[in-house]
Subunit: 196 residues, 2 copies
């Protein structure tokens, strides 16, 4: 994996926060330079171009996400608990402006104007997440803990879409509660239908 010094790590963290706030065109090297406390040119030393920076950032984000999802699975045997752990992660993030949105979900909205190298990473993250959700939901169905109305994959796409939409609503209303209002019933719905 790409080695990261303290400074380049700090640059990435800062860029991530700025992207979460305003997307790809919502931040500049100057913004990062101000926060990190080095000069613009020094950022180019670490990341020759903006695309390099954001691509690296996304690769790192995706690795963290994959590791996180794997951890959720290893620490929870119950599929419902696995989904709850995923939701709880984001519930904890929603209030914090530096992490209140999935970087990939945010960039996703700007796909038509994004460099192709970035689009590839964003798309890959969506596939990773929906595949993970589908496997958890599939597992729940196999255990007769969940009853599905469609395929596990389509249930996963619905689940993911609802979470992303909930992030958006929380941002618009400036109210963290909306996120929970939307996401909490998602898991209950899978479980409650059990008796059919």
């Amino acid at each position: 994996m790409t080695k990261l010094t303290n400074t380049s790590d700090e640059i990435i963290r800062c860029a991530r926060t700025l992207i979460i706030a305003g997307g790809y065109n919502g931040f500049s090297y100057a913004d990062i330079a101000d926060v990190v406390g080095i000069r613009k040119a020094s950022i180019h030393h670490h990341f020759p171009s903006k695309v390099d920076l954001v691509r690296t950032l996304l690769q790192l984000y995706r690795e963290e996400a994959k590791a996180g999802l794997a951890t959720v699975k290893s620490y929870n045997t119950d599929p419902a608990d696995q989904l709850r752990a995923y939701i709880n992660y984001w519930t904890a993030c929603i209030g914090d402006p530096t992490s209140s949105f999935c970087v990939c979900a945010l960039l996703a909205s700007q796909i038509p104007v994004l460099p192709p190298e970035i689009v590839v990473e964003v798309r890959a993250h969506f596939r990773t997440l929906s595949t993970w959700l589908a496997s958890v939901i599939e597992e729940g169905a196999t255990q007769n803990a969940f009853s599905l109305t469609g395929t596990a994959q389509s249930e996963a796409e619905s689940f993911m879409a609802a979470v992303h939409g909930a992030m958006l609503s929380a941002r618009v209303y400036g109210d963290e509660k909306v996120f929970s209002v939307v996401t909490e019933p998602l898991i209950e719905r899978l479980i409650n239908d059990q008796g059919k």
Copy 2:
């Protein structure tokens, strides 16, 4: 209502398309000038500042949206049909790059970096939409056509979030079908639970 000449109307239409593609910072006066076929300065004649342009654009969009939602209600007596008409509208839009996303939903993702005048309009649209959805869902519940798991308002927030998330997924995957996969079960879920 603000009077609009042919040209300023064209400017607004063009800006709307560009915002749908890349958000507030994703387009410039130069971009619009190229498409409309006039000079940058002439756009400033119609809309002194970028904020003026986008605010007017959003006011117009909101009026159209409100009129559209009212029309849906007047043409469909069945609440389920009203929801279907709303979903069908967006299903028809999803494939077309110039209208494949709700302008307000797109801008919503960038709220932290948006001028306050714009945020107000975006937030107002979300409230209008969720209130409309809640009233339709409430009506369905009163008629015993729908059975709700929460309040009409919370069902409405879930419905809206799912639709916005579905737009995002369709964009990421470059696949219109995902939108239908996510949105179609939304209405069925409200209905199917009826027998309880």
